[in-house]
Amino acid sequence: MAALTPYTYIRCPCSDVSAPGRPLDGSSPMAAAADDNGAGDDDDRTFDPRAPRSNYSLYPLEYLLYCEDCHQIRCPRCVAEEIVSYYCPNCLFEVPSSNLKSEGNRCTRSCFQCPVCLGPLAVTSLETKPDPSLLAAPDNAAAPHAGPYALTCSYCHWTSAEVGIQFEKPNGIHAQLAKLRNGGATRLTAKERKERRKDPAYRTQAAAAPAPATAGGEEGGPSSSAEVLDLETQFANLKAFYQGQLADPNSADSGLAALSDLGFSSPTSLSRIMSIYTGGGWQDKKAKSRVGAMREALEPDEGLQPARLDESAAIDRLRSEGHGATASAAQLRDQPPNLGEAHLHGRARFASELRPIPYLLRTKRSKRCPVCRHIISKPEAKVQTTRFRIRLVAGSYIPSIAVRPLPLSSSSSSGSGGSASGPAVVPGALLEPLRPAHYLLTFKNPIFEPVRVTLGAPARTPGRFASKVTVLCPEFEIDANTDVWDEALKESGERDRDKDRRRRRGEEGGGQSSSNNPHHSQLEVGKIWERGRNWVSIVVEVVPASLRLAPGDPPLREDEDVLEIPMFVRVEWEGEAGGDDVGAAAGRDAAKEAREKRELAYWCVLGLGRIKQT
């Protein structure tokens, strides 16, 4: 079992149905239930980190943002994202959003991923045998080598030549690839398609020869008596057929006039569907005035494509080449749609059908508060810069909580628990059931005001295995953060600070400072363990539950052996008032002097470690 590093996850208020500030749908059953049992006050309920709902609301501090207007934590789940810019993760060129509509959401600048392993593909000349260790950079290919070229993976050594895709030029690969089918046949252009439709000689020829796209192995299937259309050709044929139908006034001759207007074969439905799939703008005004049904496509050049259900060729190939020649589900999922392909039915999903994947574009996104709509994070639009215009991260507003095991020798323990006799805790070690263990929680204050922290934790953890929890010092103050310059100046006065720290530790919780060596501090209820410039450490004592199951109990679920403590944190401080828009006009003068009491409260969960299974 993997060792577990202690962690702290913080719960965003957005998951709390009764939380104020979240627009509630009054009719939602959750909201109603929350009102019914009067559990509107968050403080009254213990948060259960194991509840299925908690999966969606717990985040490490780094992932949380903070809205200065609502004075509330915001998480990736509740913020509203807006795309600032699109870029290719390989060539790092920004793609204007106008291009997205025409070119799609993939890079068109010859950036490709390997269809087998998703590694980057490089253009290599097929003339000189590509040496995998020297595979390379674009100018390597541009140098004296001659074509043909292929895309080669520098990780798994897949090459597009394997699937019969080669290029004449080393540049403009995206455009070249768009015209090529696997096996090397070229994709039909619109013009060619039109010509073929007109030319009866082609059809007989096509019937005799297998479809180019399936050259891999489906020769001789009985279906080859009918023309095999690729997706694009079929679509073009169908479109032409239906357009002809709509334009033809004689098609409106069905008897079932009233009913058929709702069916697929009615002119109105058809023109509506056509305008969806052909990008709008295609409106048949006449159709609205006409009623009646139209006939369906009957021939390949009208777009009829009978399903080819004979898979014997694919089965034969599977027999000869084995499972290894097929593409995995993940590989097929990563494939971009390719309109030049044959129909889905009859395709056998062999690895020879995989194509290089143009890189999906990535985005830079700004984030808005879901409640007040203020922007709380906004990166610079330029791809190559990492600066932010706005970046309100929760880490600059709420204290961070670091958890680490506290090794205690049995001699130094006394006071509170009295039973603190566990062996030194090695990080990642398993917790002994029923034996007290101690953890040090270090709270670090990021703001420039001193804060008062109040902690609440249930005495027993929720869930099947209830461990005992004692927070030895649930109330304390943390000094204000100071800026970097102060810190640098203080660096020299390190020793003074140490003395100061010890003194203050003694003061808190009513004297009785029996020890003045910070390394042998004693466990005492109500006393902080250690204090620094803007941080405070306190001790939590846990008695891990036994994981022993009674006969008939369901087995341990995943991570049920992790000792997790839900903890309610309340932070109070006095901030400068007047920062709010509300009532700014009225009380501006008063606000200048007034210090405003601020408070922020939230649940968090401390993951301490795994309990040993006995």
Partner: protein, 203 residues
């Protein structure tokens, strides 16, 4: 061999670099350190793998005039980098116009290279964290604020844009560095915890 018995584990330079005596730096004249960089024991830096083909020498005139050797930097490292025990920095090499040559490996500031990792990238930005036992393939380009998790194998020539978290073999994007995760790349505090006079880890 030393007349001064108390020798620290590290050599600390004027610019604040802390280089372990047990690190292997080959071709030191071709290794540039920006300062405040930690090089732990058993680290290997191959400064001897210099460029042999000079594509377009920047100032051919001045070189021939002074007779100074061309700029042969093989590995350049910025400030506050941390090279953990047993990692290896090796300039990438390839054929250029038919001749094999190494190209320089450049590394920005605040780059952490985990123990046992091998780095052959062409460039690594600033604020980059490379985990333990990772491999960064030849000519990879890693931008700023990138996290490469333990054991990842970054394929040769891969470009990893800023704010990426990559993992796996081959490495692929598994997440984005959140806005609040930028400060964690700072290595100033870590720098202080290593050397002949290490400071305790701040809380």
């Amino acid at each position: 061999m030393s007349r001064r018995p108390p020798r620290g584990e590290y050599i600390e330079t004027d610019t604040g670099n802390k280089v372990a005596r047990k690190a292997t730096l080959v071709g030191t004249q071709n290794i540039m350190l920006g300062g405040k960089t930690v090089i732990q024991p058993d680290v290997m830096i191959r400064g001897d793998l210099t460029r042999t083909v000079h594509a377009a020498a920047p100032q051919p005139a001045s070189q021939s005039a002074t007779g100074a050797p061309p700029n042969n930097t093989a590995v350049s490292i910025g400030r506050y980098c941390f090279l953990s025990r047993g990692c290896c920095l090796r300039p990438p090499g390839r054929l250029y116009k038919g001749v094999f040559t190494y190209m320089p490996l450049r590394m920005g500031d605040h780059v952490f290279v985990g123990p046992g990792s091998v780095v052959q990238a062409a460039s690594i930005g600033s604020h980059v964290h490379i985990g333990a036992q990772a491999v960064v393939g030849e000519f990879a380009i890693i931008k700023d604020y990138v996290r490469i998790l333990d054991g990842a194998v970054v394929p040769p020539n891969m470009v990893i844009p800023s704010f990426s978290i990559v993992a796996g073999q081959p490495a692929r994007l598994i997440g984005e560095v959140p806005e609040g995760g930028l400060e964690a790349f700072e290595l100033r505090d870590l720098y202080k915890t290593v050397g002949n006079n290490p400071q305790p880890v701040p809380p």
